[in-house]
């Protein structure tokens, strides 16, 4: 029996689903599972019980709130896909701003007709069994979790900071160049595409276990303004633990 899989997307950019399609093993995935509910990929979608449901995106509307609860009821395992699901994602920057002013800025006099809930990370709404972090997820991370599940391994948490990915690529350190980088406190495993591309890590995968936040902030304060530090942590995983505080201005 092929495992019954569902993929749902809430409000987001669907980049994580694209990263799934980008897998070099996509044929093995297509051949190895039965997609029971996958709106992006097929016409007929059912609400059978799912062995695994991947949920991508942030809960912004009340319809989505209702949907995720229904998904939980139907799934043995729920996996949060990407930083929108795991940590509210980029849209949860709005949580830190005046939402009514924001709606008015975009929709003018029709602002009240737009629904926008305070964005909570998925694990704060329903029980989530695993998180595949990242904005977007790293294709390899998805492959790893799926491989783990297929092989009967328990998907492991990464316990390494992004710096480790970064140094494995032999990159020069952004912090040493005076650029504020979240790498030392950020959850690794992404392969550090950002520092490798000459940019700092924005911590899109949320915090590492036991991050040395105090030391990191001490250091950042020497090279960046308070506003810049807030912006760094209020970006792709604004509602992640610790980042939420820093992004909220607690420095």
């Amino acid at each position: 029996m092929k495992p019954k899989v569902a993929i749902f997307d809430l409000t987001d950019c669907e980049g994580c689903e694209v990263q799934i399609v980008n897998s070099k093993f996509i044929d093995r995935i297509l051949g190895g599972v039965e997609f029971v509910n996958f709106r992006l990929g097929q016409r007929v979608n059912r609400w059978d019980d799912f062995d695994v449901a991947f949920v991508e995106g942030a809960v912004i509307t009340s319809e989505e709130l209702e949907l995720v609860k229904k998904i939980r009821e139907h799934s043995k395992l729920v996996i949060a896909l990407g930083s929108c699901a795991c940590f509210g994602g980029i849209a949860s920057i709005n949580n830190f701003l005046d939402i009514n002013e924001g709606k008015k800025y975009v929709y003018g006099e029709n602002a009240d007709k737009i629904e926008f809930l305070y964005i909570k990370p998925l694990p704060e709404i329903i029980k989530v069994d695993f998180m595949i972090r990242g904005c977007p997820i790293a294709t390899e991370d998805f492959e790893r979790v799926v491989s783990d599940l297929f092989a009967g391994r328990i998907p492991k948490e990464h316990t390494r900071p992004v710096c480790m990915d970064c140094k494995s690529k032999g990159n020069p350190c952004q912090l040493l160049k005076g650029v504020a980088c979240a790498g030392p406190v950020a959850y690794g495993g992404c392969g550090a595409p950002c520092p490798t591309a000459g940019m700092p890590c924005d911590g899109c995968r949320g915090p590492l276990e036991d991050p040395q936040t105090t030391a990191e902030l001490e250091l950042l304060k020497k090279i960046a303004s308070k506003d810049d530090i807030v912006r760094l942590f209020r970006k792709f995983a604004p509602m992640a633990p610790i980042f939420k505080d820093i992004g909220g201005g607690k420095l």
Partner: protein, 273 residues
Amino acid sequence: MENIYKPFKSKILKVTEQTCDTKVFRIEVKDFEYSPGQFVELSIPGIGEAPISITSSPHEKGYIDLCVRRVGTVTNALHRMNAGDYVWIRGPYGVGFPFETIKGKDIVYVAGGIGMAPLRSSLNYVLHHKKDFGKITVLYGARTPADLLYKEEFDKWAKECNFLVTVDSDKLPDGKPSGWKGNIGVVTTLFAKLNYSIKDAIGIVCGPPVMYKFVIQEFRKAGMPDSSIYLSLERHMKCGVGKCQHCQINNRYVCLDGPVFNYADAKQLPESI
């Protein structure tokens, strides 16, 4: 060059359930020499590798027994396997109990939980060569009666040595009473029940990390010198051959210098217990 990381394929001959999370796997081996206290690295292809103590005694030939508690990736996968399946083994590794030094002496074993696994190997070896040793005492503690390992050997052990058992709680894991009639309390409470001196005995301890400190206190109270106490230590371990650094305790390696350490030595080593 011989590949020190390459395991060999071995058949599981028998699986016996010990407790709800512990099973004993009897694994076929040929020409496999080891001494009690040593361990093997057990692999399941595609799952991973884990160090596991040998729980059988060298006088049993043609197989080794591994007593494994289900805690993570490898151990869970192993628990799904049956007789006839294959696992991969390399080893034996480490140094076991120093029987040459212990010979002729009384021995006090103190085992906590899964710590019984390596101690059983030594115990059965000693009982097999009983005339070479003095009085044998075993103090064994587990969380609940349902967690006790090797219950089927209790009668034998009770006959051949002074075998005392205790449980932390007489409730079963589901909270129901078990009908346990024996001792209740942590393993150190058993020391009070010994009505003979263990001052000149050799102490051998294996259990969860928290246990060591308290057991050593009891030994010291009984007047046993530190150099008579042996500990079998657990560490995160990847290679088993002194390279990966995970099991390093300051200037010792659990995989090369242990897992059995003399306490007089270990106490010089910060972080050892």
